[in-house]
């Protein structure tokens, strides 16, 4: 069965610093990959997704992620974070051959301070 590992439960950074949130998934050749964000007291919303094609995917609010098939990773990056990026970030995967719904990682709390 497919699984997702988010390697950091909490990531504290200062404003304007770069950040990388790490995500690994169990090996499969047939995956779609997603990052969702949950701001305080709000529902989850899509940041970006990889379906096929270019391995570098750009999303909203300046975030991007790179699909690395050999390392089964899909790390999220932003070159310069803002206070407003403070939120919980979830990596998720679906296996399109198996026809599964999204399977989520445990989440990474990004805390941006001034």
């Amino acid at each position: 069965a497919q699984s997702v590992t988010q390697l950091d439960s909490q990531v504290p950074v200062f404003e304007e610093a770069p950040v990388e949130l790490r995500c690994n998934y169990s090996s499969s050749v047939s995956v779609y990959l997603f990052w969702y964000v949950q701001y305080p007291n709000q529902g989850l919303q899509l940041l970006l997704k990889y379906l096929s094609g270019s391995t570098l995917v750009k999303g909203i609010n300046g975030f991007e992620a790179e699909f690395n098939k050999s390392q089964t990773s899909f790390h999220l990056r932003k070159p310069s974070v803002h206070i407003s990026d403070t939120a919980e970030y979830f990596c998720a995967v679906s296996d399109y051959e198996a026809g599964t719904a999204l399977i989520f990682g445990k989440g990474t709390t990004l805390s941006v301070s001034s």
Partner: protein, 115 residues
């Protein structure tokens, strides 16, 4: 465009009592999901509907949880009787399509506390 609506936002009950959560998906979305999010963990799929049929309920504890989606629109998730370990946020989501490539739109969740 109206988002996914859920109610109630908060519910506190005693163990062995029952509770029901309601979800109204985005208009026209064929697929509806219920996820359970326990504190410190990611959302876990409980059940997936396509229109009013069940696609996947393999992780739904059927001895105490039930869900229905009458007429392929609104959905209700019920827990009876509740246990302490059911304390969680119950998230409803909907998508326009059924394959794993479609974006899920989430409601704000219903937070359940079982005492």
């Amino acid at each position: 465009e109206a988002g996914v609506a859920q109610s109630p936002r908060y519910k506190i009950i005693e163990k062995r009592q029952s509770v029901a959560f309601w979800c109204n998906p985005i208009s026209g979305h064929a697929t509806l999901y219920w996820y359970q999010q326990i504190l410190g963990q990611g959302p876990k799929l409980l059940i997936q509907f396509q229109n009013n049929g069940v696609v996947d309920d393999s992780q739904l504890p059927k001895d105490r949880f039930s869900a229905e989606r009458l007429k392929g629109v609104d959905s209700t998730l019920k827990i009876q009787p509740a246990k302490l370990e059911d304390s969680a946020v119950y998230l409803c989501a909907s998508s326009a399509g059924t394959s794993g490539s479609w974006e899920l739109f989430f409601g704000e969740g219903s937070r359940l506390t079982v005492l």
